[in-house]
């Protein structure tokens, strides 16, 4: 059992949990993830690690309350426990002095980007950060990112704050040179970022969180086509060369269990299943 030390609502339906997990806290590095199982009937959900404090023995992660599990998770309070957490999983990010790095983060993945930007800064990089969300209410960690980045751009899908969409990046990329781009966020956003950086041949690393079950190389559901080769998101990733990823295939694979996920959430909403102990 893993005790929840702190709960913070970062934005509507986006929550941060700090959990006591000393062994994971000691080992975690930027870019890695954990598998969370709420209770004995729960599914195995991969979530990116957004922070770790070996002294306190805690890790943090951020999630968006969308499906049944994340909504159930969102009901938990400080002092409650999570049944099982496995980690850290996946390969840590490559952090070194690349020169000038463009960091693009969208949605809930803004949270791990903060960790990434911090590490890149400490390694001596010049960091230009772009944060994006659907609407301005979902832009969290803005001040933190601003303080850590040399420059911060804000974008929203509806234009309610900052730039409308990511098209403005065209101009940014045309006017200055970047040595590397790191992108974390929804798959369509990652695809768009890669389209934009490709003409400039900027090495672009994307964090992929495909559907996973075990998260340790056993099931192969997280397979991604990278440069025509089959890779597993969990053990070969989660970071990949974005210019080689088959995004269209990935998007289709992400939708594989949508009907079941909707059914599960709906039944839960209706309170149709007593087994959840909610």
């Amino acid at each position: 059992m893993y005790e929840i030390l702190r709960v913070e609502e970062l934005a509507p339906k986006i929550k941060l949990f700090e959990v006591y997990a000393p062994e994971i806290a000691e080992k975690a590095r930027p870019g890695q993830f954990i598998i969370v199982i709420i209770n004995e009937r729960g599914e195995r959900v991969p979530l990116t690690i957004t922070g770790y404090d070996p002294e306190k023995g805690s890790i943090t992660f951020v999630f968006n309350e969308v499906g049944k599990t994340t909504r159930q998770l969102g009901l938990l309070k400080e002092g409650d426990s999570i049944w099982n957490i496995t980690g850290p999983l996946g390969n840590p990010s490559e952090i070194k002095n690349f020169g000038k790095v463009l960091c693009v983060a969208g949605g809930v993945m803004i949270a791990p980007m903060l960790l990434q930007v911090k590490a890149l800064r400490e390694a001596g990089n010049t960091v230009v950060t772009v944060m994006g969300a659907r609407i301005k209410e979902l832009l969290f960690f803005k001040e933190e990112l601003k303080a850590l980045s040399h420059r911060l751009y804000v974008a929203t899908d509806d234009g309610s704050e900052g730039y409308k969409g990511l098209d403005f990046l065209k101009d940014v990329l045309a006017s200055e040179r970047f040595d590397r781009c790191v992108a974390m966020g929804p798959v369509p956003m990652l695809q768009r970022v890669c389209e934009l950086t490709k003409p400039y041949k900027i090495p672009t690393v994307v964090t992929l969180m495909p559907i996973m079950v075990d998260g340790m190389g056993m099931c192969g559901v997280c397979r991604v086509s990278v440069g025509g080769q089959m890779k597993f998101g969990c053990v070969d990733g989660p970071e990949f060369d974005g210019h080689l990823v088959d995004f269209d295939q990935l998007i289709k694979r992400q939708r594989m269990f949508l009907p079941e996920e909707r059914l599960s959430a709906l039944l839960w909403e209706l309170g149709g299943c007593e087994c959840d102990g909610k």
């Binding site: 080992k27 199982i37 099982n84 075990d214 056993m218």
Partner: protein
């Protein structure tokens, strides 16, 4: 042995084989000739004194009988169900030369079930040695090594990466062949021997092997991480929706209990026309699970003929009784999807058998121009598994073969001092009992190593 009738069992996940009644067990045991030089024992990877336990059973001394088995085997209810007895002990039974061999596995199962129903006896343990052993993986190899080492007086901690113990016994073998409650009970027995179980620890990530030895105070390590990495066909369209590796399919169904979705949270999507590629026990398990999940038609596609099928004969018969169709001498060449990226057809090519290959089985050769299409909306690829690579990638100095298996001698000794390995991680995909045999030999070697160290 009584079984659930096929038309009933194909709609449920309950155990197919119901086990002997006491009468049946006594009758079967009475057939044993108590050979002065028993051949059956030679065929048992964990060296059970088979005639002795059968004699005790025959005499009604059930408690002594199970004790006799457990001198060598800590997982008898599991072995009595999933061991390929026809290839092992029973193959050497003298009665088999003239008729049916004694059903040794079923007798083992009878005694194990008898004991479990009454509560386990915990055997005496050697006095504490003060030595600590880390076991990586709570599958058949790791559990066996742990039990033996605990009985020898060592402090044993098992690190299991998944959230439940049992390894392939819980994620791979379906409920209808090996109920999870039985695995749970036998794991509990091993816990009662004093073994500590840590779940959700992926060694290589949470701790590395050098950390276990240098910082975490372990005197020796046993690696029993199995063969968990699924193999794929490498043909076009393999990443379409509805195409599962057998591992994914079985993990969802067995470990995560997707058959009880949405009561359990992990879903599985099963279409009407399921195709399973492969001919081993995993293919049979996948096909029979798909049928139980409501598929209208389940077809196994195997590139060789029935004679070369590696699955247990009993399981092939069970599958066919339940209505599973086998298509022999065919191999997939590509998958064709619909506009949503879901598989709708599979193209296969007809094979014929050429001369034997390195496996000793006749090599399948494609027949030119014989491609044909099959309609399918769910494909399960069950063509084998290779070792999980995480430990090999994170343990410097550990010798590994080009197939990714760990190099170890007969007794499990690896290239690193104090580090032993056994089971599928050393041999490649094999059986539960051979992994247990390896765990047993390694436990013996680890014990010698620990006791010779001051």
């Amino acid at each position: 042995m009584p079984k659930q009738p096929p038309e009933v069992r194909k709609h449920n996940f309950n155990e197919v084989a119901l086990g002997y009644t006491e009468e049946q067990a006594l009758e079967e045991a009475s057939r044993c000739l108590q050979c002065p030089q028993p051949q059956c024992v030679k065929g048992c990877p964990v060296e059970i004194d088979i005639p002795a336990f059968i004699k005790l059973l025959r005499d009604g001394k059930y408690e002594e009988g199970i004790k006799k088995i457990k001198e060598k085997n800590s997982l008898p209810a599991i072995c009595g169900r999933v061991c390929p007895q026809e290839e092992q002990c029973q193959k050497y039974c003298v009665l088999g030369k003239v008729g049916d061999p004694v059903s040794i596995g079923r007798l083992e199962r009878f005694l194990a079930d008898w004991e479990r129903a009454r509560g386990f006896n915990i055997p005496d343990k050697a006095p504490p040695t003060g030595k600590r052993v880390a076991i990586i993986g709570a599958g058949p190899a790791g559990l066996t090594a742990a039990a033996d080492l605990a009985k020898l007086g060592h402090e044993v901690v098992i690190f299991e990466a998944l959230h439940l113990p049992g390894g392939v016994l819980v994620y791979g073998i379906p409920e209808f062949r090996l109920p999870k409650s039985i695995v749970q009970a036998e794991v509990d027995y091993i816990r009662k021997l004093g073994v500590e179980l840590k779940l959700g620890y992926l060694i290589g990530r949470t701790y590395t092997i050098p950390e276990l030895l240098k910082e975490r105070g372990f005197d020796a390590v046993f690696i029993g991480t199995g063969a968990g990495l699924p193999q794929f066909l490498g043909v076009p369209g393999e990443n379409l929706g509805g195409i599962y590796s057998a591992n994914e399919f079985l993990i969802r169904v067995n470990l995560m209990k997707a058959y009880a979705f949405p009561e359990y949270d992990t879903p599985i999507r099963i279409g009407k026309h399921v195709v399973v590629i492969g001919g081993g026990n995993v293919a049979m398990d996948s096909a029979r699970s798909a049928l139980r999940l409501g598929a209208e038609q389940v077809c196994i596609v195997y590139r060789r003929s029935r004679e070369e099928m590696p699955a247990r004969k009993e399981e092939i018969e069970n599958a066919e009784e339940e209505g599973i169709i086998c298509k022999f001498l065919a191999a997939p060449t590509r998958f064709i999807g619909d506009e949503k990226g879901w598989v709708k057809q599979m193209e296969c090519i007809q094979m014929e058998l050429g001369p034997p290959d390195e496996s000793g089985r006749r090599r399948p050769v494609p027949v030119k121009g014989s491609e044909f299409l099959m309609d399918t909306d769910t494909v399960i690829i069950a063509i084998g598994r290779t070792p999980n690579p995480i430990i090999q990638r994170t343990t410097e100095g550990l010798a590994v073969t080009k197939w990714g298996t760990i190099v170890a001698d007969e007794n499990g000794k690896t290239s690193l001092e104090g580090v032993y390995a056994g089971g599928d991680i050393v041999t490649g995909e094999a059986t539960v009992i051979s992994a247990m045999g390896a765990g047993k030999r390694a436990a013996r070697a680890i014990h010698e190593y620990l006791m010779s160290k001051k």
